[in-house]
Symmetry: C2
Subunit: 291 residues, 2 copies
């Protein structure tokens, strides 16, 4: 395929609808579909997509590139259910937070039909979800992981890369396990921590709770922010990345136990050195992010 014309965005939640918005004014024709017909109408009326149909199959048949912007189990379900709707040579990608289970599924059902599956994962999101939480700049400066396996078509990989780069993201090509271990560290673990923190602070009797409400300020607000994310989404992500998540839980546990021991031993010079090391590491990452 020389040039992508029709891009199908399947699923118009936070990520799908924001993708449609980010593509405004670009050369692609945006075909959009989501289960609820009122959201399809909303997306059409608000210049989130250019075209929709009641029947998803009609859109998939037209699509040069399809981005499945769905929860992980739905991505796999749609690949299997609609495998024979895509035309040979078409490209299918997704935005799922884990890649091994999804890409294995994509290659299993699509590769034999001559349809190219290339896994994708933009590091973008907020604690909100749904189409009405979408905004045009969600992907600006985000990093997007695009996966490469022994079966990946290099031509399709390059098309998917260029697609994401066209909306101002930075693409990083990874292998499947490398990706899943990476995001367990950089993202999934934080959701377990934020949850455990929220429980340790707010899961108490009502009298204590009133006082705790007063004592929680911006530090708690930010450290716990992602606790407000979608429970079903995070269940699905961890369910589909258990091995890597357990490894990082262990790694975090080691660090946490070490700091606890330092405090128990009243070795405050060491504690200050750890705080200084952490600050230096995080500040360096922030500098990198600012670019």
């Amino acid at each position: 395929m020389e040039k992508i014309e029709n891009v199908a965005i399947i699923g118009l939640g936070l990520l799908g609808a924001s993708l449609g918005m980010a593509l405004r004014g670009r050369t692609y024709r945006r075909l959009g579909w989501t289960r609820r017909s009122e959201v399809r109408s909303w997306a059409l009326e608000n210049n989130v997509i250019d075209e929709t149909r009641d029947d998803i199959k009609e859109l998939l048949a037209k699509a040069d590139l399809t981005i499945l912007c769905l929860p992980i189990p739905r991505v796999m379900e749609y690949i299997e259910t609609y495998a024979d709707c895509w035309k040979p040579g078409a490209m299918v990608s997704d935005i799922g937070s884990v890649k091994e289970v999804i890409v294995n599924c994509g290659e299993k059902f699509l590769t034999p039909l001559g349809v190219n599956f290339v896994g994708g994962h933009p590091m973008a999101g907020t604690e909100n979800s749904g189409p009405y939480a979408a905004f045009e700049k969600l992907y600006v400066n985000a990093e997007v992981f695009v996966t490469k396996t022994d079966n990946t078509s290099i031509e399709a990989l390059n098309h998917v890369k260029e697609f994401w780069e066209s909306i101002g993201t930075k693409v990083v090509v990874t292998a499947l396990r490398e990706h899943d271990s990476l995001v367990a560290h950089t993202s999934h673990i934080s959701h377990i921590l934020a949850l455990a923190l929220t429980e340790a602070v707010l899961d108490c009797d009502l009298e204590t709770l009133a006082l705790r409400y007063s004592g929680c300020a911006t530090g708690f607000r930010d450290t716990s922010r992602i606790t407000s994310s979608s429970p079903s989404m995070w269940r699905e992500i961890i369910e589909n990345n258990q091995t890597a998540v357990l490894e990082v839980l262990k790694e975090f546990g080691k660090r946490y136990t070490n700091l606890s021991e330092i405090i128990k031993n009243k070795d405050y010079d060491k504690l200050e050195a750890e705080f200084a090391k952490g600050k230096k590491m995080r500040d360096a990452w922030m500098e990198y992010k600012k670019g």
Copy 2:
């Protein structure tokens, strides 16, 4: 004392300088002092304070209310060093993040001299520090803890309450231990978590680090934000609140282990229920904060 006229702000870092800014246009005369003379000049030139002196003692002698905006060890050092500078009937308060050690020190050195010490702790701050990080709205909607002990003068307590309320904060009166246990939960523990997370994610070999940099996005940014706070400040806070911090470390550890076990056992329905519970608890707190 019927009315507070002269308020001395001792220490013009983030909290002290922001306090001076918050008092702009109020009826108090702001006397300000900090170690570095160039910061005293900056504060005077930028309407952060109304008056300063080279000699701190001259300011303390004039002050009806002094707010010690200093690191915890300095608060205690200044109380002891300058105890006989304040006039009898004057009030002294502070902004330290722990209260038991500070208030005990204040009552030990000041009460015998007829000077009223009332502990204070505004729940306000950012990961930045120093005078040039200060801003006028730092305290807006913040909660401020003011301490009450058997030795506290009710008149002084009320003056300190009114002072903080005059700049738009909400005052909560607490006992010393109650306060220190509370903030160990709502604030101190988050700093240990954020640090352990930063280490688990960024303390690795350089090749891995390059990839981790790509994989860290807004979730990591916010969960780890307070890792960028002042290492010496957080060392001092935890050093002076060890008992309560160790209790909360244990409490968090229990929650964390429980979640880890749920994931180990692949009990994902239970995990989703925990995510939902956490979201509900945090969202309710956010609603409370919005007022």
